[in-house]
Structures are given as C-alpha cells and as structure tokens.
C-alpha cells in the first residue's frame, strides 16, 4: 500500500492498460461477448458482489439521503404525516439564523485546528517510535517504543462518551482534578475557575479532549504506514546526511502521503460532527454557544423544537460542508504534488 510500490506498478501497467481498455470496451459492446460471458457463474457473481450490495446501499444509504433532502424543502414537524412543500425557505432561514451560523463557525474552526494538531502530534510520535531512535546501526525507534505504542493507544480504546464524561469531571470547577492540581501549585486564581463555562477557555478545552482521545489512533495508523516503507530508503537518506527532522519532512511524509490524506479526511469528518464529545462535555452549547456544533443544533431543532424540515436543511448543509472539506483535502494534496487518485 505504499506510494513507492504503487507508483512502480502504475508506471509499468498504465500504457498497456490504456490500450486494452479501449479494446475491452469494444468487445463489451459486441453480441458475441455477451453470449459467451453470461454464464451462471458470472451472473451469480454479479448478483452477490454487485447487485445485492448496491440494492442495500440504495435502500439504506441513498434513499434516506434523498428523503432527507426532500424533507428539507418542507415544513414537516416530525410528528405527523402531514407536511407542506415550502421550497427553499428553510435554507433562507438557515443563513440568517445566527445560532446556526455560529455553530457552523465553531465546526469549521474545529475542522481546522483538530486535524492539524492531532495529526501533527501523531506524526511526531510515530516518527520517534519508528525511525527516531539511535543514529547508529539499524534504523529503529526509541528504546522501549512498543511500550509507548500501547500506552498511546489507550485513550482510543475508551468510548468517546466515556472520555467526555471523564473530562467533564476533571474540568469541574470545585471538585475537578485540574483545578485541584493548579490550586495545590499555588495558582489560586484557578479556584472555582469554570474551564467549560468560560467563553475564553471552553472551546479549547473541548478540542483538547478530542485531540487527547485521537492522537493514539492516528499514531498507530502512521506507524503502520512508516513500517511499510523499506528501511533502505531511510538508511540512504541518513548516509546522505539528512537529520531526523529533514528525514521526516522529505522522506516520511511524501512516502505515506496517501495515509495522511485519508487520516485528514476521517478526522475532519469527526471534527465536523463532534456530537458525542459535546453531548458529554457541553450539552447546552457551552458559554455563549462557543462550543455549539451543527449536529447539536440539528438535534435540538428536530426533537425539542419539532422542526424536522428545518433540521433536515441543517443536515444537508452539514453534508455539503463535509463533502467540500473532503474535496479541499484532495485538492491540497494534488497541489503539493500528490497523485490525485486514492492509494492502491
């Protein structure tokens, strides 16, 4: 799955593939092809591996999406079969709704900060654990690196909701661990300081929790990717005189580019959602709504306010933002010289 091997493969096969694919197309159109190839084996293969999955996908993924998109054009309350078609007015309302716009802003900030910090840290630790060790002898990580690998994965094993609940206790102004430690150190201004209740700190505190919970997972992901790079490449770089930082920047990251891209997309989607963490840490949207996320606003609008049509419009906007984010990551990767395709 590394860029190296896939690059080699593609360059070897591509010209040949171009030719035969056009030939294949021609063959596909001919009657002889159809007769000869529609055996029972082939049909059952199509059925099991293509038609049934696609049918499931349409029934359980595509059709709810289409339905939700339609509901976003109605004034459906969610509790009766009756609804009126009201065109785009839900969307009009959405872009003048200051609460929703604030939630969108919070999400976008999180989708910028959380991936960069998490993946930066994960990459740093992954490098230390795999190639950051002694400068003599074989390329290896720091001493007892497998121990760090296990430790750093721990937070990811805990469900997100539990992480949220643990940290909401740690941040508790009167009985929390954090203020306990700070006041013990003599920082009395933190006595009863509401970390999750102060508009200056709340959003950074929740982002910290999300990052804390995810660094381990992405670190393990990057370790696996780096292990797939032949050690000779790193050795060659070292012989050429590259230091650890230069190696990470010029060798590691370009070679595991596709993994980084995938990681960015996953964690970005998570940051654009963040519902679980917020439900535990800031169920009410935080001080002055500074931690309100779109998914929370959507949930309240649907179930508490009984405006499912409007909530569906929020869902559509959230989905579009997510797609735009994924597109942006692809574009950035391409601009910086990556292949635009997904890894093979």
């Amino acid at each position: 799955m590394t860029a190296l091997s896939s690059g080699g493969l593609t360059s070897g096969v591509a010209p040949q593939g171009g030719v035969s694919s056009s030939g294949g197309l021609r063959r596909f159109g001919s009657a002889r092809w159809r007769r000869r190839n529609l055996t029972f084996d082939k049909i059952s293969f199509f059925l099991v591996f293509l038609i049934i999955p696609v049918a499931f996908y349409i029934a359980f993924v595509v059709s709810p999406f289409v339905q939700a998109a339609y509901f976003s054009l109605t004034d459906w309350t969610g509790f009766s079969p009756a609804m009126n078609f009201i065109g785009l007015s839900n969307y009009g309302k959405l872009f003048t709704d200051s609460t929703f716009l604030q939630a969108m802003g919070n999400n976008i900030l999180m989708a910028i900060v959380v991936p960069i910090v998490t993946l930066g840290l994960a990459m740093f630790f992954a490098t230390l654990v795999t190639v950051g060790g002694s400068a003599r002898g074989n390329i290896r990580g720091l001493r007892s690196s497998s121990f760090y690998r296990v430790i750093s994965f721990f937070p990811y094993v805990i469900p997100a909701i539990v992480i949220g609940l643990i940290w909401s206790q740690i941040y508790d102004p009167s009985a929390g661990l954090l203020n306990g430690i700070l006041t013990r150190l003599g920082l009395d201004q933190f006595a009863s300081f509401a970390w999750l209740g102060d508009p200056r700190t709340a959003r950074w505190c929740v982002m910290f929790v999300i990052i804390w919970g995810l660094v381990g997972f992405y670190m393990v992901l990057f370790i696996a990717a780096i292990k797939g790079v032949p050690a000779e490449v790193f050795e060659a770089a070292r012989i050429d005189g590259a230091g650890r930082f230069r190696t990470a920047l010029s060798i590691t990251i370009p070679l595991i580019r596709e993994n980084v891209q995938t990681a960015f997309i996953y964690i970005g989607i998570l940051a654009l959602d963040a519902f679980v963490y917020m439900a535990a840490l800031e169920p009410g949207g935080g001080p002055n709504n500074t931690t309100l996320v779109m998914a929370q606003e959507l949930f309240t609008t649907a179930f508490t306010k009984g405006q499912f049509g409007y909530a569906c419009a929020m869902g559509v906007v959230l989905a579009l933002i997510t797609l735009a984010y994924a597109g942006l990551i692809f574009a950035v990767n391409r601009i910086f010289g990556g292949k635009s395709e997904v890894g093979e």
Binding site: Y57, S174, S192, L272, F275, P287, L298, A302, G306, V316
Partner: protein
C-alpha cells in the same frame, strides 16, 4: 473483463465510493429520514358499553399501551395504576413500557399514525406539545368522570392544575405530579445560625452577607439548570406585577422582558451576583454536582428548584438536613400578590393521542391514576404529591420537604399561579437557548441589559417565526 486492464474505471469507482463513504460518515443527514410514512389507521376499536363504572366505554378484552417516561419517579407507580385498571375492568390488560427519550422513541409511531394509548410525556427528551397538539384527545371527560371511589375527579384536584395543560381552550395534557416551585434550604442549618428565610431580594442580599461571614455562599447553580433562576425570577415578577407580567411573557409580547417588575427582579439578582454571594464556577458544573454542593457540602444555603429536588438528591443529602421550601421572594413588601402566593404547576404531562388504538383505555388508565389508591401510592413512594388533594398525611410520610409543600399550598390558598410558555412545558423549546444567556448572567460575565436583550431576542425569534404555531394565553 481483465481487472488490471481497466485501471481508470476502477479508480473512478474507488473515488466515487470514497466520496460516498465520506457522505455516509456524516450520518446526521440520514438521521433525518423516516422509515417511510405508513397509512393512517383511523381510530378504531368499537366502543364497549358505557356505564358509571366504565365511563369511557373501554372494550373488553383489549390492551392499553402505556409508554411511561422513566426518570426520577420511575415507572412502578404507573404499573401500580395499571393493576388498578386490570382489577376494575375485566379483560383489559395494561402494558407499561418505560422510555427515557420520549420524542426519539415515539416519533416514528406518531408519523405512522400508530401512537400508544397513553404517554407520560416528560423528561429532557419530551415531545414539544406544540408539534403534536392537533393529535391529542381532549381530556375534559376524564376529569368530569367519577373516580373509583365515586367522586367526580374534578372536585378532588388542587386548584388550577388543569390550566397549564389547556391550550387554546382545549384541555389535552394532564400534569400528574404536583410540583411546587420554591427556594429550598436546610431548616436545621438556618436554626443553628439564627437565620430567617428572606422574603424579598433585599433580604436575600442581607442574608448573603451573614452567610459569607460563616464562609458560605448564598446561592449556586449548575450549567444545565441555570434557568431555574429564570423560573424563580418570573415567579417573583408575577407576584410583583400580577397577571400583566404573566400574559406578556406567555404571549411573547415585544419588550416583555423589559417590564418593570422583571427588571426589578433582575437588578435584585445582579446585586447578589456582584456582591459575590453566588458560588462561582456554576457554568462549568454539572447540575447534580452543584446541587450536592448545597445539600451535602452546604457550600451554599439557598437553591431555587421544583419539589422534585428532595427525590433527586435523596442519596446526596447530608443527614440532619431538614429540607424545607419557602415561596419565591417578592421585590417589595407591597406586591400585587402576597409573598405566600405560590408558583405551582404539575409535571409529568400525560397525554392520550387521539389516533391510539384504544383511546378509551388510555383515559381509563388516567382515571385509575387519579383515584385514591394510585394517588396515595404515588405520594407515599415518591414523597411527592399528585394533583389529587388529601393524599399526604400531616407528617408528610416523614419528609420535611413534603410537609413544607403541603403547608405552602395551604398558606397560599387561592393565590396559586403558573404560566404556560416557559415552564413546565417549554412550549416552544426555548430552554436550550435561554440556558446560554442565564449561565453568563449568573457567572457575572454579563449584566441586566445583556440578559434582557438575550432573552428578548430568543422570544422575538419564536414570535416572528411563522412556522411555529402560537398558543394564545388569557
């Protein structure tokens, strides 16, 4: 069909599936979709014989499908009432199903036209009544029927308990558990220190100083419960300014939060906050933890809340803490309603969907709940009164909080008031937005002007939204 010979097609496919996967991962969008709208089955069950013992004509045999919110009160009291129905009506069985998230559980059933026969619509996840009120049966005949002892139910209820469940003249929500809104304190602690219960905001300020001298705060709050102070403030303002204030708020009048009585209350609270008598950090504290700071650690001495507080904090109350309630303070001593006037509205809103299969059965279930055995059972096991009078003995089953509730109700006489829009039904779902404004006010980060503007903006947003049906309150 050699796979390696068609790299472009495969890549397009992978690219497409990645985009689809990204879309699927957003998830929230799909959450909006329904499972399909079923056909609406019309109210069906042919009625049974109507008689004095069977006033709604429950068919026999039939099943009553009751969905009960499982919160502070549990569901055993409802199962008890179900047994009563089964004993009185031969052949009728009652199926009690607990739920903790009423709206999420029942939403598909309402859409499919197949709702339960009776629902306890309560808790944080309740269905906003405004969205389903067209689909609910009127309950006037329930309270006009005779209970199992032969008395007309209406005559056994506390005053005014049907008002909060009446929308545009239709009585559709039967709020079962009587809730007294008060400020709660430990009578033992007050006695020890020679403190008296404050009757106005100025007296509260003085008490705050005395409490400070003992190293305690006057008040405190938790982030999910910041609007308890709004409830207290509105209660005080209605006592001060009378019905005019209540109607302005209930009907979402422009500028309603700027009415002088409300402003006076806000200013009174602001003085307490500015004097540092409010325990800091509430906006970052889970409300049950904040309440334990009051009932267990006694870090602060007064807490505005509803009568459920005793049951809620049962396991986190210091021994010897004589939990006692006092009416919400007034602004001045010559208010329109006396200090003894009491804000009381029942909670646990029972509804009977008109499309249920056994509407008569749902009503029969409510009749059982309002009869003596079930009502006494509730009071005894939950240490909280129902809307049925005379079910609590003078010793309050040994609970000081329950004793004081009954005393306050008696002292208030006919001066019992409540309102429709903000509490307990939260008709338009404004609580979430209001919490934000109140948290910053209570923590001292904003002032009266900002609080007023914040609340007014929330109110105006609902008032101006044509997609929200309004209730006219008079």
């Amino acid at each position: 069909m050699d796979i390696t010979s068609r790299p472009l097609g495969r890549r397009d496919f992978l690219r497409g599936s990645l985009a689809a996967a990204a879309l699927a991962a957003t998830g929230s969008l799909a959450a909006c979709a329904t499972s399909g709208t079923g056909t609406t089955s019309q109210t069906s069950a042919p009625a049974g014989q109507v008689s004095d013992t069977n006033p709604f004509g429950v068919k026999s045999p039939s099943t009553v499908d009751a969905v009960i919110f499982k919160g502070g009160y549990g569901i055993d009291y409802a199962e008890f009432a179900g047994k009563q129905v089964e004993a009185k009506q031969q052949g009728v069985t009652v199926k009690v199903t607990p739920t903790t998230k009423v709206a999420q559980t029942l939403q598909p059933r309402f859409v499919a036209g197949n709702p339960p026969d009776v629902v306890d619509n309560s808790g944080a996840g309740l269905i906003g009544i405004n969205t389903i009120r067209d689909q609910l049966a009127e309950l006037t005949d329930v309270i006009e029927a005779k209970n199992y002892e032969g008395t007309v139910i209406k005559d056994t209820l506390y005053q005014g308990v049907t008002e909060p469940g009446t929308f545009d003249g239709k009585f559709i929500v039967l709020n079962y558990a009587l809730t007294v809104y008060a400020i709660w304190y430990s009578a033992s602690l007050f006695e020890q220190n020679g403190w008296t219960v404050p009757k106005t905001y100025d007296e509260m300020l003085t008490l705050g100083e005395k409490a400070k001298a003992k190293g305690k705060y006057l008040l405190g709050w938790g982030k999910e419960a910041a609007t308890y102070y709004q409830t207290m403030a509105i209660g005080s303002a209605i006592k001060e300014g009378g019905d005019e204030v209540r109607l302005a708020l209930d009907n979402l009048k422009p500028g309603c939060w700027s009415l002088p009585p409300i402003q006076d209350v806000f200013n009174g609270l602001k003085k307490i906050i500015d004097a540092g008598y409010m325990k800091p950090g509430g906006s970052g504290t889970v409300f049950t933890a904040a309440q334990a700071q009051w009932s267990e650690a006694e870090d602060f001495i007064l807490y505005p809340s509803g009568g459920w507080i005793e049951n809620e904090m049962k396991d986190q109350t210091k021994s010897g803490f004589k939990m006692t309630g006092a009416p919400e303070p007034t602004v001045t001593s010559n208010s329109k309603l006396p200090w003894e006037a009491l804000h009381s509205a029942a909670g646990e809103g029972y509804i009977v969907p008109s499309q249920g299969k056994n509407v008569a059965g749902g009503k029969e279930f409510l009749r059982a709940m309002l009869s003596k055995d079930a009502a006494v059972n509730f009071a005894k096991t939950k240490l909280s009164s129902t809307i049925v009078k005379g079910t609590v003995p003078p010793d309050g089953f040994g609970s000081t909080a329950l004793q004081s509730q009954i005393k306050m109700l008696e002292a208030a006489g006919s001066n019992i008031f409540s309102w429709t829009v903000l509490n307990p039904a939260d008709l338009y779902g404004m609580n979430t937005d209001q919490l934000v404004v109140w948290n910053s006010f209570l923590s001292g980060d904003s002032d009266v002007a900002k609080l007023t503007k914040g609340l007014q903006d929330i109110t105006d947003k609902v008032a101006k939204d044509p997609s929200i049906k309004k209730v006219q309150v008079s």
